[in-house]
C-alpha cells in the first residue's frame, strides 16, 4: 500500500509524471466496471419502450437474471464507496493528523481545518481557475489556466459519485428490499426512491458519457483513450496542459528546474 513511486520516469525519451497509485487505479477499475454493468442492466428497464431495450436486456440475462447482476454490481459499488471512504480517512489520519500530532497542534479546530487541505477538497484556486477558463474560452485572454495537482474538473468528476452514490445506492436498496421495508416506512417512500434512482442514474450516465469520456476519450489529444488510468503516469505534454503549476513544482523538486518548458501559449504551435 505504501509503495514508493518515482515522481518522474522516462520511457522512449518521454518524461512521465506520477499521478495514481496501483491501489487507486484498482479502485477506479472496480468503479467503472460496476457502473457500466449497472447501466447495461438498468437502462433497458428505464427505456423499456425503445427498440434496443429488449435485445440488450435479454443479452444481460433477461428479467430473471439481469436484476441479480444489477444488484450484485450495486452491492460491489456500495462496498467500494464505503471502502474508499475508509481509504481517504486513513490517508487523512496518516498524512495529516499524525503530522499535526507530531507538531503538537492537534486540536479539533485544527483537525477540521486540515480537511480543507486534502488533495481533492475544492478551494479558492479552483474558483479562480473556473473563472479564468471562461475568460480564456470567450477570448478575453490567450493564456489557459494553470492547474494544481488536481484540477477543478477532476475534483468535479470525483465528487460526482460522492453525490450520486448516496442518492442512487439507498434508493436502489429500498427498491430491492421493498417488501421488508414497507413494514417500517410508508409506500410513498418507494415512489420517491424510484424517481431518485432512475433520474439520478440518467444524470450520472449522461455525465459520464459526454463529459468524463470527453476528458479521457474524445478530446483530440486523448483519442482514442488516455492511458493514465492503466499506467498511473501522465506524459509531459499533457501534464503541461492540465497541471502546469504541479508540473513546475515536481520539476523543481526533482532538480530539473532548468528543463521546465513554457506553457507556450500564444505561439503558432500552441495546442491545448
Amino acid at each position: 500500500m505504501s509503495k514508493k513511486y518515482e515522481p518522474i520516469i522516462y520511457k522512449d525519451g518521454v518524461r512521465y509524471f506520477h499521478r495514481f497509485s496501483a491501489h487507486q487505479r484498482v479502485q477506479h477499475v472496480v468503479l467503472f466496471t460496476s457502473v457500466i454493468t449497472l447501466a447495461l442492466t438498468g437502462f433497458p428497464l428505464r427505456h423499456a419502450e425503445e427498440a434496443w431495450a429488449k435485445p440488450l436486456y435479454n443479452f444481460m440475462g433477461g428479467p430473471d437474471v439481469a436484476p441479480l447482476i444489477h444488484r450484485g454490481a450495486g452491492t460491489i459499488l456500495l462496498g467500494l464507496f464505503v471502502y474508499h471512504t475508509i481509504y481517504w480517512i486513513s490517508i487523512f489520519y496518516k498524512k495529516h493528523l499524525l503530522k499535526l500530532k507530531q507538531e503538537n497542534r492537534l486540536t479539533l479546530k485544527n483537525a477540521l481545518l486540515e480537511i480543507l487541505n486534502l488533495e481533492m477538497m475544492p478551494n479558492k484556486k479552483d474558483l479562480v481557475d473556473i473563472i479564468h477558463l471562461w475568460k480564456y474560452l470567450l477570448y478575453f485572454t490567450n493564456r489557459p489556466p494553470r492547474h494544481e495537482r488536481m484540477s477543478w474538473r477532476e475534483k468535479f468528476d470525483y465528487f460526482a459519485p460522492y453525490w450520486g452514490i448516496p442518492i442512487l445506492g439507498p434508493a436502489g436498496v429500498a427498491l430491492w428490499w421493498r417488501d421488508e421495508l414497507t413494514h417500517y416506512v410508508p409506500g410513498i417512500v418507494l415512489n420517491a426512491a424510484y424517481i431518485m434512482h432512475t433520474d439520478e442514474a440518467l444524470l450520472a450516465v449522461l455525465f459520464l458519457f459526454f463529459v468524463h469520456w470527453y476528458n479521457v476519450h474524445y478530446a483530440p489529444e486523448k483519442f482514442p483513450a488516455a492511458t493514465v488510468w492503466l499506467t498511473g503516469y501522465l506524459n509531459e505534454h499533457d501534464m503541461i496542459h492540465e497541471h502546469y503549476n504541479e508540473y513546475i513544482r515536481v520539476m523543481i523538486e526533482n532538480g530539473l528546474e532548468n528543463e521546465i518548458k513554457p506553457q507556450n501559449f500564444g505561439g503558432k504551435e500552441y495546442e491545448w
Binding site: E49, P63, F140, D199, V211, W272
Partner: protein
Amino acid sequence: MKKSLPIHFRYHLLIIISVLFSTPTYSGDELNCVLCHKHRGLSRIDENGEFRLFYINQELFESGPHRRNKCKDCHADINRIPHKKAKKVDCTQECHIVEPSGQKKFSHKSVANTLASSVHGKLDKDGAPKEHQADFPGCKNCHDQPLYRPFSAFKGKKVPGVSKRAIGRCKSCHKNGDFAEDFYDHVTTRLHKTRFPKETIEVCAKCHQNKEFRERHKLDDVITSYKETFHGKLMLLGSEKTPDCLDCHIVAGENSHLIESKNTLTSSVNKNNLANTCRASECHKSAGAMLTGFQTHVTYDREKYPLQFYMLVFFKALMAVVLYFFLTLIFLELLRRLFPSFTFFKEKQRDDYHEYVKLIKDKDLDNQ
C-alpha cells in the same frame, strides 16, 4: 364430336362434386358453411362502408375453445344456405354444449351478469343507464376468438403443447372421440393466463388510453402511468410473469369480468383491500401493510402528486444545469482549439515562465 353435358347438369354436378369433396373438417359444420366460408376473399362492404371479411380460418378455429360448437349454436338465425344477412351473435344465448358439471346447456349469461355488476356495466346501482352508453364494453370489445395455449408439465418443467404422457392416462378411460384432448386443452389452458401481459394492456388501452374517452369519463391515463412502473417495464420487455391490469384489479376469487371501482367496498383496489391484493401469495407476500402507500398510477400532476412533481422538477433542473454547463464548455473548448492564440485583450507577450517558476518556488501561488 363429343356430346357435352347439358349446361344445367354440369352446374349441378359441380355443386355435388364440391360438396362431396369438401366434407366438413370439424364436427360442428352441419350445414357445411365452410363450403363458402373457406374462401379467403369472401367479403363485402357493409352499409356503413366498412370492409367485412367472412373468411373462416379452419386451422385457427380448430385450435380455439369454440371448436365443439356448431355454427348454428351462435348464428341461430341462419336456417338455410345461401343465407341473408345474419344477426349479430348474442353470447348470452344457450348453445348445444352441455356443461359437464351441471348437465345444463351452456351459456355465457352468468359472465354477462358479472360484467353488468362491475364498473364496466352499462347501468348504475339504481338501474339507470350511465352516461355515454356507447363507451361501455360488450363481449367483443375485449374478446376476439381466443386460442388454446395448452402446456405440459412434466418432471417440474413446463413446455407448451399437449402432453402425450398425460393424455395417455386420460385415454385409458375416455377413449371416445376427442373428449380427452378437448378436456386437456380446456383445463391446461386455464392454468395460465390466456393472454400475455402485453396483450392485456393493449386490450385495456383501446379505451383507457383514448384521450377523448378519458376526458368524457374523467379518468387518468393509467396505461402510461402503468408503463412507468417496474411492472409495466417488464411487460414491455415481454415478461409473462409481470402483473398486468387484471392481476390487481380483479376481485380476489372472481374472474376478469368483475372489475370494480376503487370506491366500491368489495373492490380489490379499495384502500381496505389493497394490502391483501398486493400481498397475494404470488406477489409481495412478505410486504408490510404500508406497501399500499405506494402510488402505482403516478401522472406527475402537480396537485395530485406534488412529491413526484417537485422531485421530477428538481432532477430535471439539476440535469439541465450540469449538462448544459459542461456541454457548452466542451463546445467552446473544441472551438478554442481552432484559434488557440486569438484574444480580444492581448496580454503582453510575456515569455515570463522563468519568473513564474520563481514565483512558485517562493510559494506565492495566489499571485499568478
